[in-house]
Amino acid sequence: MSKKIYLDNAATTRVRKEVIDEMSRYFDELYGNPSSQLYELGRKSKEAIEKARKILANFLNAEEKEIYFTASGSESDNWALKGVAFANLNKGKNHIITTKIEHHAILHTCEYLEKFGVETTYLDVDRYGLIDLEQLKESIRPETMLISVMFANNEIGTIQPIEKIGEIAKEHGILFHVDGVQALGSVKIDVNKQHIDLLSMSAHKIRGPKGIGGMFIRKGTRIDNFVHGGGQERGRRAGTEGVQNIVGFGKAVELASQDFNHHIERLTVLRNRLIEGIKNNIPDVVLNGHPTERLPNNVNFSYKFVEGESILLLLDMEGISASSGSACTSGSLDPSHVLLATGLDHGTAHGSIRFTISEEITEEDIDFTIETMKKIIDRLRAMSPIKNDEDLKK
């Protein structure tokens, strides 16, 4: 088999060498518990955490005391929603507004919160995955406590007008949570300019380690704690800190901030090359997501008359890793809720493939991927009993 081409960077990323180097010291050399402040080893760990916190705060234009470390992006999402709900339910607030295309960490948490009397409005999206600000405004009730909208979608890459949503939330005195897991490092995030009150983050999407998440909580935000126990994270999130992971997160963000603009420019060029290449070489494809308001690393197409899992298996045989919105790959009955929310029919949604690139990808990799996709789609279409749009509608 030829070279491996990893095009699933929205799933996770390869940890940067510099990140691993930085982390490695905190396993056997600087292993102190940051709560043990009476000896140097403990103090060193604490310092390392605070250094990482500062890097994140600077990157987001936040204050250090507004940054908290969690175990994952999902934990941050859970904390934001449950924490705000439990702190506000007894204040006569029981309504959350979110969207139909959120990550399951948001959707399933909202579903769970119904048990406690929380009501949720799920905003529609247009065919490009964008929400309608008018529908958002119309959905606001006196009981609305939180608006939660993802910065950028993990499947189709669509970037929401976060600043405008933030303005609306602020005008109405409603807290604004943003799931920034996919956006961090790919889109400029400024929590003040964009009026964000809570922001979920994850390290492993930006070439940091797995098992470490972060959350920005604007000071003064009414939110309950989520993990109860010791006094870590200024009493807001218990559990001995994963020092090495926090250090890795900090380093990953530091590196991302250093070549931020160049990184985005380079990825955008590669992304557009892949989009154009697929569009120009393979007939009957649909680009999912927004043509321009999209993550610089995301390419998501539906290939009509074929099914996604088959494409992934054939791609894997050529050394290419990607992912699909087909039901067959999710273990559920329906294809991706995101694709369906954009109005795509089931049959077309089953044939969707997401490629997410990284700075390790070259132009040659992109061209090889286009060529390989053309062969795979031709091969599967020759095998398919569905030959046209009419068959697809049956």
Binding site: F305, V306, E307, L313, A327, P335, M383, I386, D391, K394
Partner: protein, 142 residues
């Protein structure tokens, strides 16, 4: 995730393609569920002389169709009607639980093609007297 045999049939599907002037054609599934199988039969003196399939679906759907065609090729129509999804799974060296419906679809596609042949030739195949393919929506939920 998949057995070696499944991967082999996915990579090198047997009897794949369209058939002109088939004696029996059966199509089951729908695009909504994400899999459709179409089976074509060439039948002479109640023997399945040739069989072809076309499938829209995942790896195991393609492998199940391929295996089902192998299992009925050269058999009599009365033997072919006995083909079960379990036999397909067994021959494939197993399928993951969420993919069992692919083998059900393969069994139904074969039966549906045989029924089509019986209808066209005014024959009665034992076991297919009042055949009706499972509702597509039902297979979706298996």
């Amino acid at each position: 995730m998949y057995s070696e045999i499944v991967m082999d049939h996915f990579r090198n599907p047997r009897n794949v393609g369209h058939m002109e002037n088939a004696d029996g054609v059966g199509q089951v599934g729908n695009p909504k569920c994400g899999d459709i199988m179409k089976i074509y039969l060439k039948i002479k003196d109640e023997l399945i002389e040739d069989v072809k399939f076309e499938t829209f679906g995942c790896g195991s759907a393609i492998a199940s169709s391929s295996m089902a065609t192998e299992l009925i090729k050269g058999k009599s129509i009365h033997e072919a009607v006995e083909l079960t999804n379990k036999a397909v799974i067994e021959a494939l060296g197993g399928l993951p639980p969420v993919k069992v419906h692919c083998s059900v679809l393969a069994e139904q596609a074969v039966k549906s093609a045989l029924y089509d042949y019986a209808q066209k030739t005014n024959k009665v195949i034992k076991g297919l007297e009042n055949y009706k393919a499972e509702d597509d929506e039902i297979h979706c939920q298996q």
